[in-house]
């Protein structure tokens, strides 16, 4: 049986071979005899080519019908615009009934004020009030227009000239809002692709400016020069393209979030070694640091030309509002055309510019205000040396005296609530206004939170003693 099948199979195969070979029995192509299997292979080749050249099968995309879109739109439920209000959001700030000087009135009671950045005690100064009054009578309140369209009043130009003269820089530009100074200046110069090395403790205005600039941001440890050095080193060596990119270092002279003072001489040395440009925010050091109040450059003995861009908000030592940026004439001219907070916004009210001019004159003529302020800072440090549960985290010469919590509860929210309670009790029981740290969810700074005291030249010794005693008592009651 088997052999029969095998023989039949063999016979069949022979027959097929002969049949297929028959047509091409005598074909010889290129010296090769064509056999039947070549035909099969060529046919297969064609089939493969045809299949590959066909478009792959996709089910046709059926667009949604109007009815389907309607249904989807009806189904969609958005989140509420505002999340529900929690207990801690109902906290109301104290309402002042008199000028925010070293002593002020809250709820009819006299209160010692350590919450205003009135470092030289110029709030309520008669010369400032006089110049404001005459400016109000002459110019009204607002300037009714941006700087490009008749919003430039001669007082603005005088103020810019005065600031340039005070700081010995070629030119200055005025902004109408302190916080907008940094968030307009940084995106003006730093564009996509540039590298910015910034301190991790910079305040929110600078963070916003960095975000809007779309540059590559690298943070270094707060006020740590070794960390800055290694960061700069890494950037310059790792990425070969760095040499062709614009590079900036952004720092604050006196950090608002911690009271530390930046070591400008070391920053300038590093900047010159690695060829970076420095943008410095002198809001809390203008009028405060240095022998004559000319800021961080004078304090460290560094010529101000070494800093490329200096910005400052005037709502601190100068007891007015607004901000300015000073530096090279070309840098300032460029900002007049392309800084968004300057071009698209109404200009500073003229009476505030006039107040700034008078404030600078007062600082120039009264150097004893700086001496008094420095003495007050030293006295306050002495009084708070032995406080329990908190430690002094700021620089001994900085007008922002920062007490950070020694032991954190683990959650920033809990810490903030505790500090708020401490500040509230200081106000209610001891009539003291102090600043407890506040954090918006947009703020990326992760420095420790605490209580801030803003020292003024107008505080008396008894005020300083009172606040030290009160804080020591509250710290021992609430924190231990």
């Amino acid at each position: 049986m088997d052999t029969n099948l095998v023989e039949m199979f063999r016979a069949g195969l022979n027959w097929v071979t002969m049949a297929l070979d028959a047509p091409s029995a005598r074909v010889v192509l290129f010296g090769v005899r064509i056999q039947w299997h070549i035909f099969v292979e060529v046919l297969l080749g064609f089939v493969i080519v045809i299949l590959l050249s066909q478009k792959s099968y996709k089910p046709p995309k059926r667009p949604l019908t109007e009815q389907e879109i309607d249904e989807l739109c009806d189904e969609w439920v958005p989140e509420p615009l505002i999340p529900p209000i929690t207990e801690d959001m109902m906290h109301e700030p104290p309402v002042l009934e008199s000028a925010a000087g070293p002593h002020t009135t809250v709820n009819g009671k006299d209160v010692v004020n350590f919450a205003s950045a009135n470092y030289l005690g110029l709030i309520g100064h008669e010369k400032l009030l006089e110049s404001c009054t005459s400016a109000l009578e002459k110019y009204g309140v607002g300037s009714c227009g941006p700087r490009g369209f008749y919003g430039t009043i001669d007082v603005h130009l005088d103020c810019e000239t005065r600031i340039s003269k005070f700081l010995s820089t070629p030119d200055t530009i005025l902004y109408s809002y302190g916080l907008s100074t940094m968030f307009s200046t940084i995106p003006c110069f730093c564009k996509k692709g540039d590298i910015i090395v910034a301190d991790e403790g910079v305040h929110w205005g600078i963070q916003n400016g960095l975000q809007l600039s779309r540059s590559t941001i690298v943070y270094f440890k707060h006020n740590d020069m070794d960390s800055l050095r290694t960061t700069l080193e890494k950037i310059m060596t790792k990425n070969k393209r760095s040499k062709n990119l614009r590079r900036y270092i952004v720092a604050e002279a006196v950090y608002q979030n911690s009271g530390q003072i930046a070591p400008l001489d070391e920053i300038v040395k590093l900047k010159e070694k690695y060829k970076f440009r420095v943008i410095l925010d002198e809001s809390n050091s203008f009028g405060v640091l240095g022998r004559s109040g000319r800021g961080l450059a004078e304090h460290h003995g560094v010529p101000i030309e070494k800093i490329d861009v200096v910005t400052a908000a005037m709502g601190h030592a100068l007891a007015t509002e607004g901000g300015f940026c000073t530096g090279n004439a070309r840098i300032i001219d460029y900002q007049r055309l392309s800084s968004s907070g300057y071009v698209f916004s109404a200009s500073l009210p003229p009476y505030l510019a006039s107040a700034a001019i008078t404030a600078i004159d007062v600082i120039d003529q009264n150097p004893e205000l700086l001496v008094k302020m420095k003495q007050n800072i030293a006295l306050l440090w002495k009084g708070l040396e032995d406080i329990k549960g908190m430690s002094l985290a700021s620089d001994p010469e900085s007008p922002i005296v920062f007490l950070k919590l020694e032991k954190s509860s683990g959650s920033t929210k809990e810490d903030l609530l505790l500090l708020e309670k401490m500040a509230d009790r200081a106000l209610k029981e001891d009539s003291l206004l102090v600043v407890s740290s506040k954090k918006s969810f947009l703020d990326k700074c992760r420095l420790p939170v605490g209580i801030k005291l803003l020292v003024s030249a107008g505080h008396s010794e008894s005020d300083l003693v009172k606040v030290s005693e009160s804080l020591k008592r509250l710290a021992s009651e609430l924190l231990l």
Binding site: E68, E75, G124, C144, I153, S340, F344, A346
Partner: protein, 427 residues
Amino acid sequence: MKDCFARPIASAPDAWFDMVERDWNDGEKVIDRTTNRRRCLNLGSYNYLGFGSFDEYCTPRVIESLKKLSASTCSSRVDAGTTSVHVELEECVAKYVGKHSAIVFGMGYATNSFIIPVLIGKGGLIISDSLNHSSIINGARGSGANIRIFQHNTPSHLERILREEIAERQTKTHKPWKKIIVIVEGIYSMEREICKLPEIVSICKKYKAYVYLDEAHSIGAIGNTGRGVCELLGVNTADMDIMMGTFSKSFASCGGYIAGSKGAIQYLKHHCPAHLYATSISTPSAQQIISAIRVILGEDGSNRGAQKLARIRENSNYFRSELRNMGFKVLGDVDSPVMPIMLYHPAKIPAFSRECLRENVAIAVVGFTATPLMLGRARICISASHSKQDLIKALEVISKVGDLTGIKYFPAAPKKQEEEKDTIKPV
């Protein structure tokens, strides 16, 4: 062209002001101030209701508050920057605008840039008009949300975008949008068109999107009592989720506000970085706003407010119709106090500006980057403090300069005398 912009003035931005003449040193490079002053008619400042100079009701109160509370508090609102004037101002603004509560900041530009990131973040969608102001664009970019632009003032395009976005997002990624905010302005600064608010609000209600209205140019200038676009078009303020405005135009002060429901404002006070970190608005400026609102509402015991509002409407409509009769191409809707005169050609921009200045009329001109290259324009801002003679003089000068620079693109309407001559035929 540097002399056409940033012209300094040496007096209040009233109907007439003293312009400081400048010297060109070294061609275009340096412009120095001289001591010469030129008295010019002011058609360039945003002084809609005429509060921009010494006012008999406002200025004494402002000086009083300056003496009591000083020019600045040097502190943020949550620390020691809230004074009784700030609290009064927020209540006053909320009542005026027609919402439950308000929050006030020291700069109008910063108000938009700092509030939008708090309201919406990643996973949300912002649909904004194509001609929105730079502060809204900045705020939208800073928020991290997705942004779509809809054609200027076209509600049908807005509806199409809303339908597309909601449906596609759900079918493609299965992660629907967290929320959608539509941002529009009351009056657009360059085109001077009034927003089609009723249609936009009804579309947003249908698709459950939130409405954010920026009334920078319309608050205090539009509507019977100056309450803005909502009053003019009869839209209920309860339908607006967030209303924003600035004080630098009609109220001649500085700063901006956000008005909304009680919960919304409480949330913003707790989280908005400008409220937590920035110095509070200067107290005399705040007092100016309160006094200006009182004058507008007639609460100062006189009807100067109503007079001002009527006068600005009359002035603007008269000026606009006269300009159109002369043959100029003038944009802007009826009642808008700012009217752009189209110049088109870039070379006519400095020519128009300089010729007008020669006749002592100060005009603001706008060219490329703020507007498209071939759509240069001169922007006229009418104020309630302009008298009829001022307007007539301005019209004469503009007509003369218009003939000189050739911008009367339309045929002039025939004068009435000539019409009468034609009709009275000799018998």
